[in-house]
Symmetry: C2
Subunit: 343 residues, 2 copies
């Protein structure tokens, strides 16, 4: 079968790889109907050291169940399913607490496993991992359903862990697909003031449609000041940090109200956070982390099926599998916000 | 009147200062019955640059109301009252949210104001700040009531913000008075496994009486390993960091369970926290901060009055006001855990 392999910074190829097949009785094989490229794929795309072996790519996908291991219950051949970006048994203590990203028998796609940017995927712990979608593979909702795999679930995790509610004001840092998803998630949770910090007008325009009430294009100290102006000097109760770079976390700490929370879902490209005496004296909480998408899919699914939310609008380009390398380039060059792949 | 003034590292004096007197109609003057020395007083005691002007000391006290400004309601001359370590109007939006440390009209004792290590204190925003105690100035409970001013309320804040409950395991880092208070607070909130990290046997013995189920004397990596052994490899759901030094926060991040929370109440003597990719992937929350003692006094008071808890046991030495400098030395040399001052 064909699948996407990264060999180093800027070097993404679509090649022949061994066919996905059952290895354990708890596995399934899913034929991918839609996958996509994640903002986090751009970190290795920007900096990965060249390797002869390559790395299988893609951790967001939905598709049709093609084969099922003998121990998998609750799924049938032909079911349309979505996979969260971390696979999990969904029965261990961490899973029962809603932290499937720390599942005792789970893991990440790619590397030794198939990735979602390919024709098919062997899915470990299929019964716990996969969620059946009550639509056909030709549904008009596929793009929005695909976002449950990662990007919208991640925005939702950010809003939930920050404590967004109708009583909290919100700043969202970052106008990438995760930031826009966080805006939509905050609006869905009832937030009335949502300040989006971003400087790409086409993206912040979508952010406004998703629910942003204010857009702040300034960065750094000027951005912090502008958010403070918009909030009577106090900052917002919750801050959703959707970038992952040190300046973003610094801005987050600058715009959070005393007693408030910064949640971060951008994979951190830093190792230290300035949680200094000021943050301490203001009782600022730093929370968030990698999103247990699996914990949220059933909760978010009805709103997508009912058309109440349309998170799939973050996809502004669709490519075939062979054009995946061009998709990476387009996202890296900021020509595309998020690229959907139809193998 | 006499009061304690710090002139530099190791240089604490008790001297004549202007008498405490009403300056605003919202003030009260309180004659101090009991004050004490805080672990945080030891930071300047260890490192303060010499100054000719000096700095008034003490932010924990209880005493008798001597004079009341014309706008103060709800208090009478002769009332025994306890003051939280940050004064506050208790009516602004932050106060109503229980964050009196961020009160819009509040502040810290000392500096331009009287401190609690003296004969009397002018109390700004007296109506909001002071809490009446339904006992006499000769009560046997004074030491425990005094801990509501800061040290026990701080331990309680640490436990509350970390989310301690009967369902959470707990690690407390630090066997100082705040750490021991955090043990007692965690037990009061129903925690069943409480691991106390500390190496001073007399202190950890008191910790066991307060509710610690395990004591870990090892530090650093060895300490982290020991806590992990005690928790099946996972670490604890909540970690109460009661030291304020960088190694303590590193240990905290090492012993917290995935999805868990580290709360810090030790005034941070660091500016950066290693909330790196590991903490991100494990969804670790960093919370806590300076404790809004005022928010907790009414809630904790009945348990002290009923004798259910006896947080005053952290005081292991009592001095007269003139012996306050010796009290500082004793705490700095770890000869005393916490020193109570009877002016």
């Amino acid at each position: 079968m064909r699948a996407t392999v990264m060999y180093g910074a800027g070097d993404v190829r679509v090649e022949n790889v061994p066919d996905a097949r059952l290895a354990e009785p708890t596995d399934a094989v899913v034929r991918v109907v839609a996958g996509c490229i994640c903002g986090s794929d751009l970190w290795p795309y920007g900096s990965m050291e060249a390797t002869g072996q390559g790395r299988r790519m893609g951790h967001e996908f939905l598709g049709v169940v093609e084969e099922l291991g003998s121990e998998v219950r609750g799924l049938r051949q032909g079911d349309l399913v979505v996979a969260p970006f971390v696979w999990a048994d969904n029965t261990c203590d961490f899973c029962r607490e809603g932290l499937q990203t720390s599942c005792r028998h789970g893991g990440l796609w790619g590397n030794d496993l198939d990735g979602g940017q390919g024709e098919a995927v062997r899915v470990p712990q299929a019964q716990g991992t996969l969620v059946r979608l009550p639509v056909g593979a030709d549904s008009a909702l596929l793009a929005s359903l695909l976002t449950l795999s990662d990007v919208f679930s991640t925005g939702h995790h950010c809003a939930v862990t920050a404590g967004v509610s109708p009583r909290t004001s919100v700043t969202v840092i970052g106008d990438g697909a995760v930031g826009l998803s966080a805006v939509l998630a905050a609006r869905r949770l009832g937030a009335e003031q949502i300040i989006l910090m971003g400087r790409h007008k086409d993206r912040t325009d979508l952010g406004r449609e998703f629910g942003a009430t204010d857009v702040v294009a300034e960065r750094g100290e000027a951005g912090v000041e502008r958010v403070r102006e918009l909030t009577g000097g106090d900052g917002t109760h919750t801050v959703l940090e959707c970038v992952g770079l040190r300046p973003a976390i610094e801005t987050a700490l600058g715009v959070v109200r005393a007693g408030g929370a910064v949640s971060r879902v951008g994979a951190p490209q830093y190792t230290e956070v300035p949680m200094d005496f000021d943050a301490f004296f203001r009782n600022v909480t730093l929370t968030g982390g990698v999103a247990p998408a699996r914990a949220y899919i059933e909760e978010l699914l009805p709103d997508v099926l009912d058309g109440k939310i349309d998170p799939g609008r973050v996809f502004d380009r669709v490519v075939g599998l062979d054009d995946t390398p061009a998709g990476y380039r387009a996202m890296a060059d900021r020509e595309a916000l998020k690229v959907l792949i139809r193998p």
